[in-house]
Symmetry: C2
Subunit: 440 residues, 2 copies
């Protein structure tokens, strides 16, 4: 019933002139779609993975090298750019594309999630959030109107609604997670932000936190704030505003939110609040429930997810866009993604290893010749050398592993796109064991 | 007389099979020579500037991008590689070229200079130097034999003799220098290593330091140690050992040392001990005196120098090779070299500057299109964006300015090479005002 409803909603809406979404193939056995999103700054193929360039830079990676990994669209964080260098400066410099010299589409989040999870002294109310700047200690106010104004100044192709993203119930209970990569084994899990979890635990210790109440309030606010965001949006002919569905892990709340959010005509919709501490099982359950409810002719974006297995689950549920810090953040910490899971390149066993990070990989580190790079005998950067770079804290270590990890995710997504038409999901998982569902 | 002597010495010597040096043009009005050094790992054109890759990495710069700046030969530091990852590991990994994936010539220093200036608890005696490792606190011993053994294991094309490099008289007297770059003004000076100066001041405070005595001892040791280095060298068919002339700023001592050093038949010779705290005037005086005394048919290498003006002075005195940390170290600190002098990109006046670091520069940052890089409208990375990167401590800031600075030095050296045949030194300095001699 919900499915039918949202389809009707989709039918009566019109696309923004700044964004077109075309679907070229759909799965016969699941919700997966192969598509392309066209923006005023170029296109990206879907399902798409967006690297995260928090401060208008993918840490340590020149934009041209990011492009060469197969990345077509980047994400920047409004919260960070709001504080430094400020949206007025970015506008003066010609907008965020010109500012960071990225010749392709860019998406920004709304800043709300970071304002809640990163800032001290934050306070959410019905009108917005007030937080203390981690840069200069000043109090900063974000409202739906201000979040849109800031994103209108930054100038991304896709801007996200200002929502109220409550933490997961799980984040309030569990200890801060360790780094969750495991050498030689694939152990996908939610990419819990430890700072968000810490904020929730602080609230819980103070005894002020009622999770169910918080979810209900957040859901209602998210809908009201989206209406305000749309009214405030000044550049709909150039920038596409996406709405965000909240509702935690309560499927009824998700349905409630989708009905209201999808009733507001927008060029795309996102599923929020699933990368804030949930188990992979909960993520999958929420996404399988929510994605099909969203308008079928609009791109669907799952925010902040995730590991390969999470991505595959979500693609099969009908999601088209993803972002995650995993390839970049883990890369800077010497953790390299492979088809069999992550490996920790600081491990002493790699000290004399003359092999590439992953045999058969075509990234800059594993196959520099593919990029026209001259190396002795066309050899790869070895695990042994990369380990050395990390042990002596040379920047080139994080750079090489980040390049590898970005290429890993983009190769995986390209392979995902290649099987949507044929539905050879078994073959896909055979090539990417890391993406297999866990054994029961 | 000294000139005649050394020329005779050169005539009776033979070149190493691992290195050939051909001179294609010489100046009619000064000592400058245009040449090429061929090694088993490729050639480099002289006069040549070598970037410094201390730990087998040019900090933050992929080897292919280093190559694209016009760099043809790199320097690695034996002291650092001795401590981490150790020469045995580098040998196991196929030698330093393969280890760092640099497809061109590499030169290593001997480790002596760093052992003296960086290590705590160091003690020089007639047989070598003992120092405490800054990595694990263990005591490490370097002798001429060990320095050569280590370099034989590392496998560079050119290896340096283990010398006794005393600090300058000036280093003992003056305070540690501030960062010596000046916004908008060219103020070349010696690239004093503040750690070396500090070590000297410690000795001076203890009242144990007699500079003249120290110079005399160092000079004699340097000659004796060179003989031991040559005897210890096991791979003369693959690696070329260069001798080093010491003698401080005392020209008679320099002559004394040259006579003895040049009497030992080697494929190249270096002038050491002039980047340890001297004034530009002292550097020029020593180099003008010493370079012409060295064998004319061997490459002459001025160690650790320097600013553009110092390089030009030395080229005109007959020097063929240089290394210096200035482009990389200053680049990491937001100081960009231009034809008119260094500019500090953290300066607030650049916040909204949409121009490149330097108009007309063809580096990766100023003219990314030259390298086939896609940017919006082929635009440069702007001063404003680069300032932002430094203000928020993004790695890409040091990367972009390092690339610019390396290209600046390589463009300068290419222009220097272009005028050796024509002797249009006036035109060169008109194009590079930063290289002009200071007004009297």
């Amino acid at each position: 019933m919900a499915m039918k409803q949202t389809t009707n909603i989709a039918m009566k809406s019109s696309m923004s002139s700044a964004l077109t979404f075309s679907i070229s193939a759909t799965s016969r056995e699941c919700g997966a779609r192969l598509g392309r999103v066209q923006t005023l700054h170029g296109h990206f193929d879907t399902p798409a993975f967006m690297p995260v360039g928090t401060r208008a830079s993918i840490k340590g990676i020149l934009p041209e090298l990011v492009r060469q990994t197969g990345s077509q669209i980047l994400l920047n964080n409004t919260y960070h750019l709001l504080l430094r260098p400020g949206p007025e400066l970015v506008r003066t410099m010609g907008g965020v594309h010109r500012f960071m010299n990225w010749n392709g589409p860019i998406l920004t989040d709304s800043g709300g999630y970071q304002a809640y999870s990163l800032a001290d002294g934050n306070a959410v109310d019905d009108d917005g959030v007030t937080f203390r700047s981690h840069v200069d200690g000043s109090m900063v106010r974000l409202t739906p109107e201000r979040a849109i104004e800031v994103q209108n100044m930054l100038g991304p192709d896709i801007m996200m609604a200002f929502d109220d993203c409550p933490p997961s119930a799980r984040a309030a209970d569990q200890p801060a997670p360790d780094d969750d990569s495991q050498d030689g084994a694939a152990r996908p899990r939610a990419s819990t932000d430890p700072r968000l979890a810490a904020a929730v635990r602080r609230d819980a210790r103070k005894g002020v936190y009622d999770h169910e109440k918080r979810l209900e309030i957040a859901n209602e606010r998210t809908v009201r704030w989206l209406e305000r965001c749309k009214r405030a949006h000044q550049r709909a002919d150039e920038q596409s505003l996406f709405g965000i569905v909240q509702g935690g892990t309560d499927l009824a709340r998700r349905s409630w939110c989708v009905e209201r959010i999808a009733n507001i005509d927008l060029p795309g919709y996102a599923i929020g609040g699933v990368a804030v501490g949930e188990s992979p099982q909960d993520i999958a359950r929420v996404v399988r429930h929510t994605a099909p409810l969203l308008p079928a002719d609009r791109p669907r974006y799952l925010m902040g997810v995730g590991y390969e297995r999470d991505l595959l689950e979500a693609v099969r549920a009908g999601v088209d866009m993803f972002d995650c810090v995993l390839p970049t953040r883990n890369g800077r910490n010497a953790s390299a993604f492979t088809r069999l899971g992550q490996i920790r390149l600081r491990n002493a066993k790699y000290a004399e290893d003359q092999g590439p990070i992953e045999a058969g990989c075509d990234c800059h580190a594993c196959d520099p010749g593919r990029y026209g790079w001259e190396t002795p005998g066309g050899a790869p950067f070895t695990r042994g050398y990369i380990r050395h770079l990390f042990m002596v804290e040379e920047m080139l270590g994080p750079i090489l592993v980040t390049l590898h990890n970005l290429r890993h995710f983009q190769r995986f997504m390209a392979d995902v796109r290649s099987v949507v038409g044929s539905d050879d999901w078994t073959g896909l998982v055979a090539r990417w064991p890391v993406a297999a569902a866990p054994s029961a």
